[in-house]
Symmetry: C2
């Protein structure tokens, strides 16, 4: 039976690509507040045409959230898909071979901003459902799509959406937004994401920039920022905030075992990035474990004063740093904020202004959840290769709203590959991966219907 669906996918693939191109033409950039309504409207029509019921939800000032569902007359299980229709800004534009919002096919790949992150996955999942409905006339399970429009700016409205519509989003399992094939072609399945707390720290100095001849007496806000940042982390990566590690959960045995099955070429990373070594001197398995399970305190940006060519002699009027903490399971944003405040009190850094720009807690699906085995065995069948399973992603996302709050076990699979250039120029997916990604979702739905 499924072969008929797979044949349908093969036969209709050109049309699927055409639909993917259509949605990629819309520059739905949340950070710049453009193309948002247009993308939501376009998707609404696409999902309706495929036979789903669609609601465009709206809370406060948030970008609309597209909710689509299909419920068979009778079903036992419900599968939820989380995706987002907003994309990263396309700059730097001059590094794109073809314009970011004019989808272009070259060498069996389709290039466009958002094609990998995350529109390729939206369309693949939609086309899986559409193909099954067209060929089989029904689905063996119910499906729900939650497609938000603010993921790339930190999903500020998603908690409100979940609060207002959480019961509508209920499901037995879920598929998270992303996934990719590694350099050897093996599909990567991820069972969780880390939490994050993204801060902007600002220090006010003199009302205006002052001639640096007066630096012996006029306090310089850049120095205050340096002293503050220096107090947060030591060179080996250890975070120096009292009690920071208190609630950190130890890495579980089964996660360690999973890690051991992940190919990790540290020499390749060192060479590709042209760096001499890793933080704290870790290598091999220990480096992989650190990357996925160590909390971090990272400087994303730093600014003060004159940064042009040559010399300008000033005491700057302010200094700013952007810093993100990655939070493995156990650490929460709220607890970090409290500890950070105590740290600042203790060391006299109350002149530092703190803004929390965004924050999520970690989320992690139990290896024993049914959806994990379904995603692994289906991937093995569709890709013909053993999938690589990450217990948690090095990245972050608002998965906790679904996994921790709505109690939906979720895994992440998708149509990207190791050179998809998410967030970078020439973002792309391979057409072959797009097709296999559609079939993988079909297989997952089919298997879930048999559980």
């Amino acid at each position: 039976m499924l072969n008929t669906v797979f044949n349908y996918i093969d036969e209709n693939f050109e049309r699927f690509i055409s639909d993917l191109k259509d949605i990629c033409r819309i520059p739905s950039i949340a950070a710049q507040n453009i193309g948002i309504m247009e993308a939501a409207d376009k998707l609404k029509v696409m999902f309706e045409n495929a036979g789903l019921n669609v609601r465009v939800l709206k809370v406060d000032k948030g970008n609309p959230l597209l909710y689509a569902e299909y419920k068979p007359r009778s079903y036992k299980k419900t599968l939820l898909f989380y995706n987002h229709y907003d994309v990263q800004p396309p700059d730097p534009l001059d590094l794109w071979v073809t314009p970011p919002f004019e989808p272009s096919i070259r060498d069996g790949k389709i290039f466009a901003r958002g094609v990998a992150d995350n529109k390729g996955n939206i369309i693949a999942r939609l086309k899986a459902v559409e193909s099954m409905l067209n060929v089989l006339g029904d689905l063996p399970i119910a499906v729900k799509f939650v497609i938000e429009g603010e993921e790339e700016i930190g999903s500020p409205s998603l908690p409100s959406y979940v609060k207002s519509y959480g019961s509508m989003f209920s499901a037995d399992a879920g598929i998270w937004e992303f996934g990719y094939r590694d350099v050897s072609g093996r599909p990567v399945i991820t069972l969780g994401v880390r939490g994050i707390a993204y801060f902007e720290f600002r220090v006010k100095g003199p009302r205006v920039d002052v001639h640096s001849g007066e630096a012996a007496i006029i306090p310089n806000p850049a120095w205050r920022l340096i002293y503050f940042l220096n107090s947060l982390r030591s060179d080996d990566g250890r975070i120096l905030i009292d009690g920071f590690y208190d609630d950190l959960k130890p890495v579980e045995k089964e996660d360690e075992d999973l890690l051991k099955s992940i190919p990790f070429n540290d020499e390749e990373i060192l060479k590709r990035l042209d760096i001499r070594g890793f933080v704290g001197g870790v290598r091999g398995f220990e480096a992989l474990k650190a990357m996925l399970f160590n909390p971090t305190c990272n400087i994303d940006g730093l600014y003060s004063g004159y940064i042009g060519q040559g010399a300008k002699t000033i005491i700057p009027s302010y200094a700013m740093a952007k810093v993100d903490f990655r939070l493995p399971p156990g650490l929460t944003c709220q607890s970090l904020l409290e500890k950070l405040r105590r740290h600042m009190d203790k060391y006299g850094f109350n002149d530092i202004e703190v803004s929390l720009l965004s924050g999520y807690e970690a989320a992690k699906t139990d290896l024993k959840a049914g959806i994990v085995e379904v995603s692994i065995s289906s991937a093995r069948e569709i890709y013909g290769l053993e999938p690589i399973v990450y217990p948690i992603s090095s990245g972050s996302g608002p998965m906790y709203l679904f996994v921790n709050e709505l109690k939906i076990p979720m895994v992440s699979v998708g149509v990207g590959y190791h050179e998809s250039n998410n967030h970078s120029p020439n973002e792309n997916i391979r057409l072959e991966d797009f097709k296999l990604g559609i079939k993988h979702i079909v297989k997952i739905i089919d298997m879930m219907g048999r559980m």
Copy 2:
């Protein structure tokens, strides 16, 4: 006799203003390499028309240096003027009331980029000489003008000019480029400048920006920069480089006495700049003394990674800081560089790239030099107010080439005032100060002729 010269200045003042406007119309911005030849050519004509011999000197790739001299048939003394015809870039342009290179007179002030720093002083000194020559037919002393075109970019070619033409520049005394009247109208005379070493520090990170999810293992160059800067200076302003203070000369008794005569309103500074206190908690006399005689390590600029709105999660590919050290008498740029290298070896900061963008040593004229008394008593007479004498400026400049190397005692006097906005939008001088500045130079030349 001098009254006739002063009358001539009063009668020809409109023409002098017109000449000042002419030179201010030329945007001679060394940092952008524009208007340089045009300004040098214009000044050449002006100095020749006034009856001086002019040579336009040139070394290597340096901007031309204008050398002008007048030697009477018989004379005992020679006075040298140091000035520069290059100006700061005018930005931010939108803060100028009238365009920076269209000189405009409002409220008895003339507004233009460079009118205070340093073209007003060039023209005032030229007009003093011209007026004496026209009225008296001769000068009582020889005068030499050294007018360079790279002061605002750190005078990179001036050492070569002094090496090649030092004997031609020889003089018994000199007048440095700048001077101003304080808020009470008292003329400020300065006997020296501090040295400076201006560094750019850069740290290389991964070849490209990397997703901050990998921060647990990928070294972040911004952290390295933070640790390095933190090692240089403590919060009370003390510089932590071994041996940094070794060669610092103690403040002399006569300089302390001079300081005591300088009006210094620390409450006004705190209020104007909206700061809570001074570095190290100094106040009053101690703050003034620190400002002029303490060495400093100051952050002028700081940059790494993403500094736009909102959040971007990256490990930046590099980090950069601009740092200037002010060097009171005794400390040299070369010695600092050696100590800094040892500091970096000692603490393992050899991944920090060091560029010395510019460096001068300090220069200070002895209070007992004849030109000091001449400048003070002439100022007292011309301005009708007691001058304020600074033993050294809080700023820096290449004065050491003349004072330390050519052994010419120099003082700094000029046509600015406390709101001249040097290096800032709406740079201006008061017409009254321009006129008094011309007369002050006439009086200095006259008095030097009687020594």
